[in-house]
Symmetry: C2
Subunit: 117 residues, 2 copies
C-alpha cells in the first residue's frame, strides 16, 4: 500500500463533513454530529451508524487518529483528530471541489453571492 494521498476517490459527503468538523479542533463523536448539523444549518444530520462506519474507515485509512483523553472531563468522550494525511486529503478535496464549483458557476450562471431566488 503506497498511500501517498494522491488520487483518492472523492470523499463521500459524510467523510467530508467529518474531516471538516475535525479541521477546526479535536472533537468526540457526539460533538462531530452536532458540528455537522451546525455547519450545514441543520440540512445534513448523519445518524450514529454513518458516523461510526466512517470514523472506523477514516481511522483505518490513517486520516484521523485517537486523541488523548482529557482529564476533568466526561470520561466517556473519545476524541479524534486529523492526522497530517487527513489534512492533506481534506485540503486536496477542497481544492478539487472549488474547481468544480467554478465550472458549476459558469454553467449555471450563478454569480458572487447575491442570488436569493
Amino acid at each position: 500500500m503506497k498511500e501517498s494521498a494522491k488520487s483518492f476517490p472523492p470523499l463521500s459527503p459524510a467523510a467530508l463533513h467529518i474531516l471538516l468538523a475535525l479541521s477546526g479542533e479535536d472533537r468526540h463523536g457526539y460533538a462531530i454530529m452536532q458540528d455537522i448539523a451546525r455547519q450545514t444549518d441543520g440540512k445534513y444530520r448523519p445518524g450514529p451508524g454513518t458516523l461510526y462506519d466512517n470514523l472506523e474507515k477514516l481511522l483505518n485509512l490513517g486520516m484521523i487518529d485517537e486523541a488523548p483523553v482529557r482529564k476533568s472531563e466526561d470520561p466517556r468522550r473519545r476524541y479524534y483528530r486529523l492526522t497530517r494525511l487527513g489534512q492533506k486529503v481534506l485540503a486536496e478535496e477542497v481544492r478539487r471541489l472549488e474547481a468544480v464549483m467554478r465550472i458549476a458557476r459558469e454553467n449555471l450562471g450563478l454569480s458572487g453571492a447575491t442570488k436569493a431566488l
Copy 2:
C-alpha cells in the same frame, strides 16, 4: 412525489458530477463519463455501473429527463438533460458546498486564490 427540492440529502459525488456534466449541455451517457473525467482532470472516473445506477435514480427523482434524439447523429446515443428541478437542486448544492468551502478555508488556513472580485 411531493418532494419540492427542499432539504435533499447531500448529493453523492457521482450524482453531483453527472448533474454538473449536464449543466453545460445535453449529453449522452458515454459523453457524461468523458466529461466527468475531463472536469476532474482524470481524478474521478466512474464506471458504467455507477453511471447508469445514478441516471436511473436521477430520472426517477425528476432531476433529469430524456432529450429528443438528434437526427443525423449516431442513433445509439441517448441524450439526457437537466430538468428545472435538477437545476434547482444543483444550484442549491453548489451554494451549500460553497459555504462548506468557506469553513474549510478558515479551518485549514488555505490561502485564498479564489477571488471573484
